[in-house]
């Protein structure tokens, strides 16, 4: 009964209702799209940089994070890693040797990062094989290397050429080796690509004389959202001899950039809702003030004051609901389209993203919490807008309302 009345009341002022709802819908659509794009881009970047370099979680010697020294190693045997392999939340477990060396070929030399990898496992994890643009991918028993494309260009080497790696091995031993380039890889992280040399982990162990030890174990969870739980479990299993680091700790730059971007986006979103909220407030307030006489009559004929307040609340909620429905109806198809056809950036923006280590596409993330978040914001905003009009109705003086003069204030 009250709902029906409220619904009819709304359409007494068609234009106003539609405009207010439209403003709300506009804010909802823009915010939802912005947040979905933001979160989508973040997840893609985390996945991307995790798979190609840091992994989501790494186990390291407690000192390794600071020193990155080849002396701070972890055991590389199955016994050590068994608890991690037994953890159902972890889908990938990979050993790595990561260190620096001077690479030389002909009259060129450059400091490079050497990654000793398990070729099969690494390919399953990052699809590294797909990124080989010349030559072939590594096999476990190879004594050959894969080099990044821009590094190869700098060193002027191609497939089959010789590359000398020279550096410091375990406990001060000299690490040196002559390797043939088996393949050249290219991926969208220029800083890495210009200094990465992949080596099968067996060859890396020999070169750095580490025996059966590795610098890190790279782990990946089934879902990004399982991360915290998996880290907690690993800490329990391995503390205190092993440092369990998640991606935020491994690449604080990325984590903080994401943080900064997210805060900026959320700030803008709240401001936008704030502006729309003022409009909503104006509408609701006018809706109550210009109908003082009507309310007076309703009260005089015996309507309970609380019911009147309920009526106005329902009217406001209806405006909110209409706005949400319009917003969702407009936003959902766009988001679904973007989910299957992510925006690809071109030109300078794309270059900027690649330079910063990001893929130049903007995927969207569609998760219920993003939608729920928006709806909660709209709802809370409505409640805030209702406080003052409610108070006015509550304090409505019957006699003067019936006389009907005093419009505003």
């Amino acid at each position: 009964m009250l709902v029906k009345l409220a619904w009819r009341n709304l359409w007494r002022q068609k234009r106003r209702t539609i405009l207010t709802a439209a403003a709300l819908a506009l804010a909802l659509v823009l915010s939802l799209m912005m947040r979905a794009l933001q979160e989508g881009t973040y997840s893609a970047n985390i996945e991307n940089s995790a798979r190609f370099y840091t992994g989501l979680i790494q186990l390291q010697h407690p000192e390794f994070g600071e020193s990155q020294s080849i002396d701070d190693l972890l055991p590389g045997d199955d016994g050590f890693i068994a608890p991690a392999r037994a953890n159902p939340e972890l889908e990938t477990v990979l050993p790595r040797i990561e260190s620096f060396a001077l690479a030389a070929s002909g009259d060129k030399s450059k400091g490079v990062m050497v990654l000793g990898i398990d070729p099969v496992g690494e390919n399953l994890y990052s699809g590294l094989k797909e990124k080989v643009i010349a030559g072939a991918y590594l096999a476990a028993e190879d004594n050959q290397v894969l080099v990044g494309e821009s590094l190869a260009r700098f060193m002027k080497i191609g497939v089959g050429d010789e590359l000398v790696l020279y550096g410091q091995g375990y406990r001060g031993q000299t690490a040196a080796g002559l390797y043939h380039v088996k393949g050249i890889v290219s991926f969208p992280m220029p800083q890495l690509e210009s200094q990465l040399v992949y080596l099968p982990i067996a060859a890396a162990k020999v070169m750095y004389s580490t025996g059966d030890q590795v610098t890190s174990w790279v782990l990946h969870t089934n879902e990004l959202s399982d991360l915290d739980q998996a880290v907690a479990q690993l800490k329990q299993d391995y503390s205190p001899d092993v440092n369990v680091r998640d991606w935020k700790d491994l690449s604080p730059e990325t984590a903080q950039q994401i943080q900064m971007d997210r805060v900026g986006g959320i700030f803008l979103m709240y401001i936008l809702y704030g502006v729309v909220g003022f409009g909503l407030f104006a509408t609701i307030l006018m809706m109550t003030l210009e109908r003082q006489r009507e309310f007076g009559v309703m009260l005089a004929t015996g309507l309970v004051r609380m019911k009147l307040i309920g009526l106005v609340a329902i009217e406001s909620m209806c405006i909110g609901a209409i706005g949400m429905v319009i917003g969702l109806v407009v936003a959902t198809p766009i988001l679904l389209y973007l989910l299957y056809n992510p925006i690809e950036l071109t030109g300078d923006n794309a270059k900027m993203m690649v330079e910063a280590g990001f893929e130049p596409i903007m995927p969207v993330l569609l998760e219920p919490w993003l939608f729920i978040n928006q709806l909660v914001i709209v709802f809370v905003m409505l409640l805030i807008c209702l406080i003052y009009p409610m108070f006015r109705i509550y304090r409505l003086n019957l006699v003067s309302a019936l006389k009907g003069g005093a419009h505003a204030d």
């Binding site: 234009r15 001077l102 943080q259 803008l268 401001i271």
Partner: protein, 407 residues
């Protein structure tokens, strides 16, 4: 006359006008502080990049710019140096001898660019000498001193006086290297720069490299405005051998330049979105205010006020609303940005994220006069556009009908 009427009409419903002014003020504060924040970030990034890394103009061998090889030193270095020193707009310059190699301590090794610098020139050109966190600036005393960054020092476990070995391929293609002692530890705003650079005396490096000259001349100008910069660039290019490339900072770091450009676009889009949202609010307010006065407008029409005058009256009311909102909003923004520009916004918790872009950890937001103008014009324009629909609606009514309207 019409303006006065419009102004008074506007204040007939103080509460409603107040709400709308509040909305505009709130929205403008948000947008402008966001613009100020972005501009502050960008300014800090540009300023640091120019101060620390690119200077205003750099000279390299053409081949060196593409692919840094130790044999590609600047052609006719001595003559060019003399000409640069004599140029009217050159404040300071620093000629550097560079080598790509490795730094190794007993603890660990890293790939690095070794900068061989002339101490006096470098001190005048970049803020390096004033940003030594531990130890001291290089001097002519002692054997093979080196400056390393805080980051390198912690990675390699270095202290003042620690020994490091620098190795690189020399001009003959052999691996050359020598032991250096850490004289000082520096820190720049950019983490990637810190990661990849150490400083030694030019003479020490040349002795190892087997060739003389320089790979890079970084020039700081007296007048860095774009006209003077372009003129100086042309002058130096003409005097330099054609196998040298003379570039300004925009060419050295094209991404920085394009980032500054794309920031302007994104600021405009942001402002656009907000103004549209405020526009909805203004349309709504104007609709209410116009329709509750239907009778009044009917009377005005009936007593012979021309339609275009009524139209202008409504537009004027809305425009005055926009102008007042704009003025209040901008005054509020100037005050807010003024305070923030004095106190700065500490972003220490995000130091590493900012460091990858070379941004300082205390941010001073800044808003151009041009941005304020853009904001003001947009908001007034939007308020005028927003009034058109309500005004047309009321003019559709016939006077008799309008006068008999009840509400």
């Amino acid at each position: 006359m019409l303006i006065k009427l419009a102004w008074r009409n506007l204040w007939r419903n103080k509460l409603r006008t107040g709400i709308m002014l509040g909305a505009i003020l709130f929205g403008l504060l948000g947008v402008v502080s966001m613009i100020g924040f972005m501009t502050g970030l960008m300014d800090s990034m540009l300023k640091n990049a120019i101060d620390w890394q690119t200077s205003h103009i750099q000279v390299h061998h053409v081949a060196y710019a593409d692919n840094p090889e130790i044999k590609d030193t600047i052609v006719d270095f001595e003559q060019l140096k003399a000409k640069i020193a004599a140029d009217e707009n050159v404040a300071e310059f620093s000629a550097r001898f560079l080598a790509n190699g490795m730094i190794a301590s007993a603890r660990s090794t890293r790939g690095i660019q070794i900068n061989g610098i002339n101490l006096d020139q470098e001190r005048a050109t970049t803020p390096l000498a004033d940003n030594i966190k531990q130890g001291e600036w290089l001097s002519e005393q002692g054997r093979n001193p080196v400056l390393v960054s805080e980051k390198t020092a912690s990675r390699l476990r270095l202290k003042i006086g620690s020994k490091v070995v620098l190795t690189f391929t020399n001009a003959a293609g052999d691996v050359a290297g020598a032991a250096f002692r850490v004289r000082g530890i520096f820190k720049t705003p950019s983490t990637s720069f810190d990661d990849g650079n150490v400083y030694v005396r030019k003479a020490d490096l040349i002795k190892l490299a087997g060739i003389t000259g320089a790979h890079e001349i970084a020039i700081v100008l007296k007048d860095p405005s774009s006209d003077a910069l372009a003129a100086t660039l042309v002058r130096i290019s003409q005097q330099s051998n054609t196998t040298n490339s003379v570039q300004d900072w925009r060419q050295i770091q094209p991404l920085l330049a394009s980032m500054a450009g794309s920031m302007r676009t994104s600021n405009a889009i942001m402002l656009g979105i907000f103004v549209v949202a405020m526009g909805f609010g203004i349309v709504n307010i104007m609709l209410m205010s116009v329709f509750e006065r239907t009778r009044e407008f009917g009377v005005l029409m009936a007593i012979g006020m021309q339609k275009h005058k009524i139209f202008s009256l409504i537009i004027l009311e809305s425009m005055l609303l926009g102008v007042s909102g704009g003025v209040i909003g901008i005054l509020g923004c100037v005050a807010l940005i003024g305070i923030l520009a004095k106190t700065g916004i500490p972003l220490g918790a995000l130091a590493e994220g900012l460091g990858t872009y070379g941004i300082d950890t205390v941010l001073y937001p800044y808003v151009n006069v041009a941005d304020y103008q853009m904001v003001f014009v947009t908001i007034v324009f939007a308020s005028v556009v927003a009034a058109i629909y309500p005004a047309r609606q009321i003019l559709k009514q016939r006077p008799a009908q309008a006068m008999s309207e009840k509400h």
